[in-house]
Symmetry: D3
């Protein structure tokens, strides 16, 4: 029934390749089927100005998309002179999600910037950015700890994200572009490794929904995120 032939509760093939960028403190290339996102973590010695002298650190994210990551070319935001509302919304979400898994006091007065650049898009780029961004963050923190710069691990738990939606009347896991562009209801679910919720964003793109439908999507999301956390663990060895 799904365009890809997947089962209702089947993720796309997940692949997370780590240490793909020579210069970054942490990096990975995450592939969710045909959606490919390059994630890097940069450690900065100083926190943002509003955290000076608070003892707290910060994790923030930026999101971009290569112009031809999409089916028809998207105008380059640098040439347009600004980031779109969509881009800003996504990068605020990624940053918020990752911070929910970090003890900012243990991180100390520094900032980690997660860059998520979509090399190829086929739906679910924001979720892939969160799942991959967390791996880059984990690698950068490992390096800080190995170097003795941070003593106590500031990472509280895994953070992973998956989308679910109602496609052709059925709740399905991990929408690809063909599904996403026609789904009635659609949601992004961000969870910890322990299964706690970090962020739920459900939206009636074409049809309003009931609490019961919401429950079924949450069921799918819980299963999906469990598999994604396992993929993160496998990638990190």
């Amino acid at each position: 029934m799904r365009p890809s032939g997947r089962k209702l509760d089947e993720l796309r093939p997940v692949s997370i390749e780590i240490d793909v960028m020579k210069h970054a403190e942490g990096s990975c290339l995450i592939r969710m089927g045909e959606t490919h996102v390059l994630c890097s973590a940069t450690v900065e010695d100083k926190p943002p100005p509003f955290l000076k002298n608070t003892g707290l650190g910060w994790v923030t994210a930026e999101y971009g998309m290569l112009p031809r990551a999409t089916n028809s070319r998207t105008r380059r935001e640098a040439a347009a002179g600004k980031q779109s509302g969509r881009t800003q919304e996504i990068q605020r979400l990624i940053g918020r999600a990752l911070r929910a898994g970090v003890d900012r006091s243990a991180l100390g007065e520094r900032q980690i910037v997660i860059d998520c650049d979509v090399i190829q898009a086929d739906g679910g780029t924001r979720c892939a950015s969160i799942t991959g961004g967390w791996v880059a963050l984990r690698l950068a923190v490992n390096r800080l700890m190995k170097a003795g710069i941070i003593v106590s691990d500031p990472i509280l738990d895994h953070v992973a994200a998956v989308s679910c939606g109602v496609y052709a009347g059925q709740p399905v896991l991990d929408l690809d572009y063909a599904e996403d562009s026609t789904a009635g209801t659609d949601g992004n679910f961000i969870m910890t490794g322990a299964g706690r919720l970090i962020e739920v964003q459900m939206s009636a793109e074409g049809a309003t929904f009931s609490r019961a439908e919401m429950g079924r999507l949450l069921d799918l999301a819980e299963a999906g995120n469990t598999m994604l956390v396992a993929a993160q663990k496998a990638a990190l060895g």
Copy 2:
């Protein structure tokens, strides 16, 4: 227990005053306690370019805040030269929410722009904008129908929104600023008059949450939105 002395499931005093702007096709001033938002609807003869020759209309929204709507002055976005990510995120949300309650085919090839300008802010400005914006939209559509420009009512149902969150360990309805700024979990719930969900946005600002907690917030939101829909009806007479 709440800073305002309200009960856990008590809305702030709601007031919706209609026809407050001489020039707009529809307008209202909505007050949720000390949060005041001026909402206006502008009818434009043409739809946005991407809908030309589709027979479909569009509803969009813009959001702004007077510099001194807030406790300390916020820099004017026009002077800063761009709308913040937060502003863009909010106005995208308002437009999406209102469109979910509109039959765009019955609306026909025209656009209605909803402007939501926060005159005074005390938490919950995006929800008040949606609830008030819907009233402005309803009034503008009434005018189009009275003038015979639209024959079949494009408005499918009421749209209202309320925030809920976990404050001091308790689920509470309709957060004001004092609560919002310290809430652990926090969500916006947009619903129709019939009680269907349009958008759910829950976020772990300080603490992750369980499905059970999510359920309790949804219970509160359903009750709150029922009261807001009643207030919309009362305001429209």
Copy 3:
């Protein structure tokens, strides 16, 4: 003869409601007929950089207009990405006018920002902004003096403004939009409570003018400003 039926030397009904904004140090809503402007004063502890260590303070102003304050919707400047030349010209004028009534040495090294936001426009918004902005300024200074932060009153005199013009061949006071849009000559006159001139801006919109005509407009403006100063006094009690 005037579209509104007013006499040649008759102001529109003036109303100045004070303390309308919960958060501001001073605020008022001024209504000149159907022109409504919300004015607020924000006290900042520091002067602008160019006044550091001079012992002098500063008063500045920003001006905005809600998109649907006007008959047809005006594009939001924040969305356009810049303030128009007209907006900048007006806010420079408001700031200059208010500074002319202030002893910046008595004010000390701080800045007061006057925000004038037009809620509804029917001509004469810049003059209403000055007259109302002064009230907001006065209230903010009262608060500073009451708190003992300023000892000697830095406000030298009232500042009020009114427009006059030649409409249908006759000099008239306080142009509304219907008059303003067809007036031949048109001017803004800013004066102190003592009747001294602060700024005179006369412009031949459609017809050049003589010194005699200029004199007649000044006569009207003097009478009008006297009434506006009385309205300021009444509003402040």
Copy 4:
């Protein structure tokens, strides 16, 4: 008494050199003492969009200043990414002033753009731009008439401008920078060749003023503008 040793009612040496730019339809270099402005007129076949099919033409102006026209270097506006409020205010004034001397119906559906670029600044650049800009406009219109493109002369009269102010307690004509930067009251006076007023802008920079003082400045301005119109005539031969 004046820093330059000039008499109270004495203009700086005026020089207007015409046809200084190879490519422009009309051009001049105007020198008011050490203030030098290069003015050019460009004829465009089409009017601005808002005048399409009205039979009316338009005259507009743009103003700029070389970075080192001033005593200390001013940041290049192109590098800053926008024109300052001051620049916009000045170019709006120049355009408005020149249009007051033009029969836009006789001009027909075309636009003339006047560029005024300050090569060297010593006070009074906006007035010099108007006086020189008019000469460039006159030359461009002459060319249009000579080519038979325009039949009836759209130029109604000369337009010239001069500043006056109260310096060291005395009303003086044609302020240079040394005077302008310390003047109490200060005004720009734009007039036609016949002595009618086009625009009067007086401002209490440091001291409010009376109608009597205003009158004395107007007397000076009338005399000054008469001399400037004579200089325009001499330059045009």
Copy 5:
């Protein structure tokens, strides 16, 4: 003597992997040692406006760099709100170089946009972009010809580019970052498959140079470009 241990006339290992982007009409990932650039070609049905009704086509290029392609993180240009002068200079160069190898009349009224995004930077990104960009262009044109949209091949010859410079007193081929950042003289050489010159840009970064030195760098560049053209051929099969 070279930091990498390469011989003076030795290129870095070159790898060109084609068809790496699912959506693009042509694409490749070019690796010159640790410099990796993703190149895609997008075919647009319409030429840029200035070529309408000329029968001629256009090839243009855009260049970008992931923030963490570099050793320390570079600010994202989309966030900065504009492309840097360096970026614009490079993308103008790439477009100019590729157009020199195209018969724009045979291409017809369409545009091919080459996007070159640096995934990892280690010197020589603009040369790699040209060499890889040409491969993406070739693939997109192949597709147009296969589909019968273009009949006569518009590609006149290969285009490849390499940098050479004087490092530690010796002329060396294909500078990497360690060499580039300390090179005295430095140049980019763009050539056709037949060995004709398209663009030569030599610059005295630290030391001026003689014609003889220029000749020695040209000798190296000719050899290097011959190898790069061979690599292009090998990649295309």
Copy 6:
């Protein structure tokens, strides 16, 4: 054969008038035929931030063009809100060229900004800017040395620039606009007084070129730059 009737190796008439701007530390107006560029040098007490505490100074350049310097009016970059890619490329080139002739250690921790504003354009504006910009720089440095602020002369040699190209099949020196707009190959050659090369930029605008052609253009450029250096010397007395 050349549109101007010049011989193949003949420069346009060169004129360099010094000290033309009252406020600048150094200035000249350079005329290469109908191309006129006003060059000024501004000395700033502080180096750019990246050179703080290095003991090194900096020379930078900005380039602009009056809107009607060109045959048809060019949009004002300040009004467009940004400098074009062409402008940025040119000003980067000017700065790089002039720095190649300066001992930045002898200059010390200060910055000299060279502004090159094209008053009239007829081809070759970037070369004229370099040749004239060097004169402005020389004059500003002379003043610093005379004032004892700099002891050892930081200027190593003259810097001059000229364009050459293949026009109608013949190598010609110092292209004017008529030649430049149709030239097949085209280059800019920047040299020192001693005849060393600083920058060579050759581009196949319409036709690729051989090393032999490149050599012939270099011959012309060497002769041309020798004459330009002589003109610089003559202008400086």
